[in-house]
Point group: C2
C-alpha cells in the first residue's frame, strides 16, 4: 500500500560538472523525490516516460517499492542536458527535449485517489493543479517548483501555491517570485497566499522554515471572507482595499514569524547537485508521512532528514549515492546535524 | 583595566546602500571591533586618526570604556568610500584615502603589553605582525583580514596566520586564500598552518567553526620538527617531502574535522552591512575574554554572541544600532538563536 502520491518528471539527464560527466542517467524530479521518500514511506508515482526507457531503470524504481501504476509510456523520454560551473550553485541548461512530457495529460489512477499525502514535485504548475483536482481528499500537499515556471507560468503557479500546505523554494526562486531581496518578506508573502509553511532551500547553507503566525492567519481569514463575497478569485481581490489592509497588517508583524534554521552539511566534495532539491522534498514528505505528525516541531525534523538525504545525493553523480544509501547512513548523519548545531 | 588589545583601523566611512547614504560616519575595523567587544570586556585600542577627527567620536569611544592610550594622531583620518548593491553581499570600494594610515608605525603602549587577549582586526598584516612582536605574552590571538591583503600581501599574511589561535575569514576570502571551492578543504589548509580554529563568516547564512583534530595536530607537530631542523621558515620547508606527506595525511582525514554551524539571523531589512565582520570578531573575543574559557564549546557560544551583535549592527547605518544596543537586546536575540536551531 502506498502512502504518498508524487507527481513530477522522469527524465534522462546528461550532466557535466567540474568532476565528470554522465550521459542519459536516470533523473527527473519525481525520480529523485520518490527515491528519497522511499527511505521512509511508500510513494506512488505519476509521470510519463518514452518507449526508449530502459527496463533496468524501471526495476530500480520498483525495487525501492515505488508504485508505478501512474507511470505512462508515450513517445520518447524527456531529456535534460545541463552543466554546473565551479561554484556548483546553479544548473545551467544546455538543452531541453520535452518529448513525451509535451503532451502529458495527468490521469490519477483510481487506487491513488485516496492518498492523504501529496508531493507536487517540479513540473508544469498546470499538471500539478490537475493532479490535485483529481485527488479525493488530500490532507497534506507539498509543492516544489523552479525558476522556469516562475518566469513562464506565474499565474498558474500562484493558483497552486494557494492550495499547498507547504511551499518549497530555493532562495533565488523565493526572491524572484516575490520580487524582494529579503527572504523574510518573501516568506511572509508566501504565507499570506495560504500555505501553512514555506521552506527555503539554500544548498550548502542549509534551509529555512517559516510558519504562519496568528497575524497571518487572521489576515488570511479576513481576506478570504472579503474575497468570497465579491469574487471567486482571490488574486483579483488582492488588489482591493480590504486585502491591502490585511497584507499590511501581516507585514507589520514580520518579526513574529516563527522560524527554523537548519544547518547545511559541510561536504568536502560536491560532485553533482542534480536532484538535491527533489530528494530534499521527497525525504521531507516521506518522513512526515511515516510519522503522521503535522506539527511545526516535526517539520523541523523532516527538514533535517531532507537535508541529510540531499547532502548524500550531492556526493556522487545522478542517483549513484542514493542507490547504495542505507537507513544507517541517514541516521548517522542526522546525529551529526544535531552535533554541529549544538551550543 | 583593559583586557583585550585591539589593533585595526579607525576611519571615516562614506557609505551608500539601496536604503540611504551616510557621509564620513565613524567607522574602521578597530572601531567596530572595540565597540562590539565593549559589551563584554574592556578593549584597549591601537590605531591612528587625523587631526580632523571630531572630539565627539573620541567621546563616543571613551564612553564605552575603550582605552585610547594607543590611539595616535597624525595628518588626516583614513577615509573609505564604498557602496553596496541590491544583494548587499559585498562592499564595493569607490575611494580609499589612506592618509594617516599610510605611515602608521605601531607602538604598543607599555600598559597594553601584558594583555592576554589580542584581536588583530583588519589592517595591513605587517602592522598586525609588528603588534604581536611587541606584546610580552599574548595567550589568545584572533586574526581577521580581507581580500585586499590576500591579493597584495599574501606572504606576510601567511606569517601572521601561523601565529594566530583563531583565524576569521568570510567564505569568499577562505576560497581565495586557499584556492579551493570547498570550505572544508580551505579550513583544513588553514588549520595545518597553525591556528587552533578557523571561523568562516557567511553573512546572512551564519558562520562555520572548524577546529583542529588529532590528525592535523600530529601533522603540524611532525612538520614543525622537520622544519626546525632544516630551516627557520616553515613556508620554505612546506615544499619538502616530509611536509607534503604530513599535509596529505591531514587531508585524508577531512571527515574528522570538528565542526560547528551557527545559523544566520533572518533579518527583514539589512540597511548597512558595514562593520558586521569586525563587530562579529569584537564580540567573539570580548565574550571569550569575559568568560576566560578557551574550550571549543565556549567558542561556539562566542560565535553566537558575535552573530547576535553583527546582526544588530546591520540593522542601521554605521554605528547607529550599536550605539543604542543594550545587553538585554543581546541576550534576547541569543535566546532566539537557540530557538531557531532547535529540532
Amino acid at each position: 500500500m502506498s502512502d504518498i502520491l508524487i507527481i513530477g518528471t522522469v527524465a534522462f539527464d546528461t550532466i557535466e560538472t567540474p568532476f565528470g560527466r554522465v550521459e542519459k542517467a536516470l533523473g527527473g524530479s519525481a525520480t529523485y523525490a520518490s527515491f528519497a521518500a522511499s527511505f521512509f514511506s511508500r510513494p506512488a508515482l505519476i509521470s510519463v516516460i518514452g518507449r526508449d526507457f530502459p527496463e533496468e531503470y524501471i526495476k530500480l524504481l520498483k525495487n525501492r517499492g515505488i508504485n508505478l501504476q501512474g507511470l505512462k509510456t508515450d513517445d520518447k523520454t524527456f531529456h535534460w542536458e545541463g552543466f554546473y560551473e565551479y561554484d556548483m550553485n546553479e544548473a545551467k541548461t544546455k538543452k531541453t527535449e520535452l518529448n513525451s512530457l509535451e503532451n502529458f495529460k495527468v490521469k490519477v489512477p483510481e487506487e491513488y485517489k485516496d492518498l492523504k499525502y501529496v508531493f507536487l514535485a517540479n513540473i508544469d504548475p498546470e499538471q500539478q493543479h490537475e493532479t490535485l483536482k483529481q485527488m479525493r481528499k488530500p490532507e497534506f500537499v507539498v509543492l516544489d517548483t523552479m525558476n522556469f515556471w516562475i518566469s513562464h507560468k506565474k499565474r498558474q503557479l500562484m493558483d497552486v501555491i494557494k492550495k499547498a500546505d507547504v511551499l518549497l523554494l530555493n532562495d533565488g526562486e523565493a526572491r524572484q517570485l516575490f520580487n524582494t531581496a529579503s527572504l523574510v518578506k518573501a516568506a511572509n508573502e508566501a504565507l499570506i497566499l495560504g500555505p501553512k509553511a514555506i521552506i527555503i532551500k539554500k544548498g550548502e547553507h542549509g534551509a529555512l522554515l517559516f510558519t504562519k503566525n496568528k497575524h497571518i492567519e487572521n489576515a488570511w481569514h479576513a481576506s478570504e471572507q472579503s474575497t468570497r463575497s465579491q469574487d471567486e478569485h482571490f488574486r483579483d481581490a488582492r488588489k482591493s482595499e480590504e486585502c491591502e489592509r490585511v497584507r499590511n497588517e501581516a507585514h507589520s508583524h514580520l518579526k513574529d514569524l516563527r522560524h527554523f534554521s537548519a544547518p547545511g552539511y559541510p561536504l568536502e566534495n560536491i560532485k553533482d547537485p542534480t536532484g538535491c532539491g527533489d530528494s530534499f522534498g521527497g525525504a521531507f514528505i516521506g518522513y512526515i508521512a511515516k510519522t503522521n505528525d503535522l506539527s511545526e516541531q516535526n517539520f523541523r525534523r523532516a527538514i533535517v532528514y531532507g537535508s541529510v538525504v540531499a547532502s548524500h545525493n550531492a556526493e556522487d553523480f545522478g542517483l549513484n549515492r542514493l542507490k547504495t544509501l542505507k537507513m544507517g547512513d541517514i541516521e548517522k548523519r542526522y546525529k551529526e546535524f544535531q552535533a554541529i548545531r549544538e551550543f
